[in-house]
C-alpha cells in the first residue's frame, strides 16, 4: 500500500517581477488599450517587444510604434476542453496573430465560438478587459472581426387560397381529391385548377380522383420540416390513378430507405372528426402492398 499525500507549491499573492523598460512600456500601453511594438536596428517591429533582437542579439532601439489593434491569424490550435488555467472557460483557439504593422506574431486566445470559424488569414481584434492592470491578460482574448450580421425579417399577411385551390380543399375536407380535365387536350390535372397550363384555356369539367396512385420520384429529406412527423422523411411525386400530373405529398408507413419509384400508395386520411379544408387532412401516403408499377 503506497501512502499518498497532497502537496501544493504556491507563491501566495504571486511572484513580483520587475519588467524592465521594454516589457514595461508594452504593459503600460496595454493598460491604456494600446498595442505597441519595438523597432530593431534592422527596422523590424517586434510584437510583443523584446529587449534584444532575436536575429542579431543586438539591443533593440528605443522606438516604440503602435500596431494593430487588428491582426491576422497565422496558425491556431483548438482547445475544445478548456483547462482551469486557460483564459476562457468555453472552447477557444490558441493563435499566433500578426498584428497590423508587426513583423512577428503575438500568441493569444481567440474566442471564435466554433472551430469552424477558424481559418488562415482570419482577421481578429482584441477584446479588452474593463479593469486593466498592465498585464498580458488585459486583453481578455481576441475576437473575429465583423464579417456578417443577421437582418431580422418578419411581415404578416392575410391570404386566401384562390378559387381553384379553395375548391380542391373543399374536396379534401370530405376525403376526396378533386381534379379538372381540359376540354382541349384531355389532360387531367390534380389539384383542381381553372385553366389548362398547356392549352391556356379555361377548364370546366371537374373529376373526382381515387386516393391511390404510384410514386414517380421521391427525395429523402434530412432537415426537419414542421409538416413532417420525423427526420428523415420522404417527399414524393405521386401520380394519382386517372391523373396526368403528379402531386407532391409526404410518404409514411415505410422506412425512408425502402421507398422506391413505381411503389403503389394510398392516402392515409386524418380521422373524419379532424378533417377540414387543409392538406393536414391527408397525413401522408402509405404503401398499398400491390406490386410496383412501371414508371
Amino acid at each position: 500500500m503506497i501512502q499518498r499525500t497532497r502537496h501544493v507549491l504556491e507563491f501566495p499573492g504571486g511572484y513580483t517581477r520587475t519588467t524592465g523598460p521594454v516589457i514595461g512600456r508594452f504593459l503600460t500601453e496595454l493598460r491604456d488599450r494600446r498595442l505597441v511594438g519595438v523597432r530593431t536596428a534592422t527596422g523590424r517591429t517586434l510584437v510583443p517587444p523584446l529587449e534584444y533582437d532575436p536575429d542579431t542579439g543586438d539591443a533593440v532601439t528605443g522606438e516604440f510604434v503602435e500596431v494593430g489593434p487588428a491582426g491576422t491569424v497565422e496558425s491556431w490550435s483548438w482547445a475544445g476542453s478548456p483547462r482551469a488555467g486557460h483564459p476562457l472557460d468555453r472552447p477557444f483557439a490558441w493563435a499566433l496573430i500578426r498584428l497590423d504593422g508587426a513583423d512577428t506574431s503575438l500568441l493569444h486566445a481567440v474566442d471564435a465560438g466554433d472551430v469552424r470559424a477558424m481559418r488562415p488569414s482570419l482577421r481578429v481584434r482584441p477584446r479588452w478587459r474593463a479593469e486593466r492592470t498592465g498585464h498580458v491578460t488585459d486583453i481578455e482574448c481576441f475576437v473575429p472581426e465583423v464579417t456578417a450580421m443577421t437582418a431580422p425579417v418578419r411581415v404578416e399577411y392575410t391570404v386566401t387560397p384562390g378559387l381553384a385551390l379553395a375548391r380542391f380543399l373543399s374536396g379534401i375536407a370530405r376525403g376526396v381529391f378533386l381534379g379538372s380535365r381540359c376540354g382541349t387536350c384531355g389532360k387531367v390535372y390534380v389539384p383542381y385548377r381553372l385553366s389548362c397550363p398547356e392549352c391556356g384555356v379555361a377548364v370546366t369539367e371537374e373529376v373526382e380522383l381515387p386516393d391511390t396512385g404510384t410514386v414517380t420520384t421521391f427525395a429523402i429529406n434530412n432537415l426537419p420540416d414542421p409538416r413532417a412527423p420525423e427526420v428523415p422523411f420522404v417527399s414524393a411525386y405521386v401520380l394519382l390513378d386517372g391523373a396526368d400530373i403528379p402531386m407532391i405529398v409526404l410518404i409514411g408507413g415505410i422506412p425512408a430507405h425502402e421507398v422506391r419509384e413505381g411503389m403503389r400508395v394510398r392516402a392515409v386520411w386524418a380521422p373524419e372528426s379532424g378533417r377540414g379544408p387543409s392538406m393536414d387532412s391527408v397525413r401522408w401516403f402509405a404503401p398499398t402492398g400491390e406490386p410496383d408499377e412501371e414508371v
Binding site: R17, P54, S77, R83, L107, A109
Partner: protein, 341 residues
Amino acid sequence: MREVAVVAFAQTRHSAVDEGRSEPEMILGPLEEVRRATGLRRFGFTCSGSCDYLAGAPFSFVSALDALGAWPPISESHVEMDAAWALYEAWARLQHGDVDSALVYGFGKSSQGDLREIMTLQLDPYYLAPLGLDQVSLAALQASAVAADRAELDEIVRRSRAAGRANPHALDLPDPEGEEFEVAPLRPYDIAPITDGAAAVVLAAGDLARELCERPAWIKGVAHRIEPHYPGMRDLARSASAAEAARAAGAGKGRPDVAELHAQFSHEEIVLRRALDIPAATAVNPSGGPLAANPVMATGLIRIGEAARHVMEGRAGRAVAHAAGGPCLQHNLVAVLEGGR
C-alpha cells in the same frame, strides 16, 4: 578534441504510474547497473539533469545525491534541464584532460503533478505563462503550423508504440485509435505518455574507454543550439536550431543506421527528420522513443543511451541521437556516435 565515448548505459523499467519509489530510490537501479558494467565506483566528474518543479520541491536534485554515496566529496554538477545536457557538460568537462571518467544521470516522476501545467512554469513569465498556456496547447500550435498528414502522424504513433511494446523498459501502449482531439489538431495518442523513470550513462576518455568497454560508442560530435523562446518570433513549421546543431555535430558526414529522436509529439518527429536530414533507410526510434516512454528529464539522455547501445552491441556503425528542451522544440542537442576502437 579529446576522444570521449559512452561506455555504459542503463535505465529503469519505466512506469506510467507512481510506484511509490522516491527519486533517489528510482535512480539506484540504473546507477548500480552502470557501476557493475564498468567496474567503477568513483568517477572524475558527476553531472545530473532533473527539474525541481516535477516534485514541487526546491533543490530536490540534491537528495538524489544520496543514491551516489558522495563522500568523501565528489566533483559534481547539475543542470535544470534534460540530462542530455548534463552529458554535454560532462563531455566538455572531460575535454579538460585532467579526469577520464564521468557519470551522468537523469530522472523524473511526472506522475506526481499535472505535467501540462508544470511545463507552463518554464515559459516566459510576462507574455506566455500568464495566459495559462499548457504544453499540449503549445505543441498543437506547432502541429498546426506543420500541417502534417493525419495518416503520417498515425503511422508514427503506431510504429513507436509497437517498438515500445518490444522494449522491456518502455510502456505497453495499444495501437492508436479514436477520433477525438486533445487540443486540435493533436489527438490524445499524439502525446507522449506520462512516465516515471531514470537513466544513467558513463562516459570515458581515450584508453580508459577502450579498457572499460569492448565496443565504446565514440562521440564523434555533439552540439546544441537554441532559438527564440517566444513562438511568434519563430517559424514553427521547421526547427532551425535542430538543423544547426546537427550541422555543428557533423550529423551529415555519414549515413546513420539508427536515429533516436526526442519527439514528445508525433509531429515533432516529422520536424526533426527534416531538420536532421535523416535518410529514409535509417531506423528511427527503434526503442519506441518518447511516444512509448517519456520519463521527463531522462528522455533525452535515454536517446543518447539507446543510440550508444546500438553501437556498443555492434548493431550499428553510426547512430544519431537528439534531445530537446523548451516549448515547441526551442532547444536542440544532437550527438553523433560511432563504433571502432
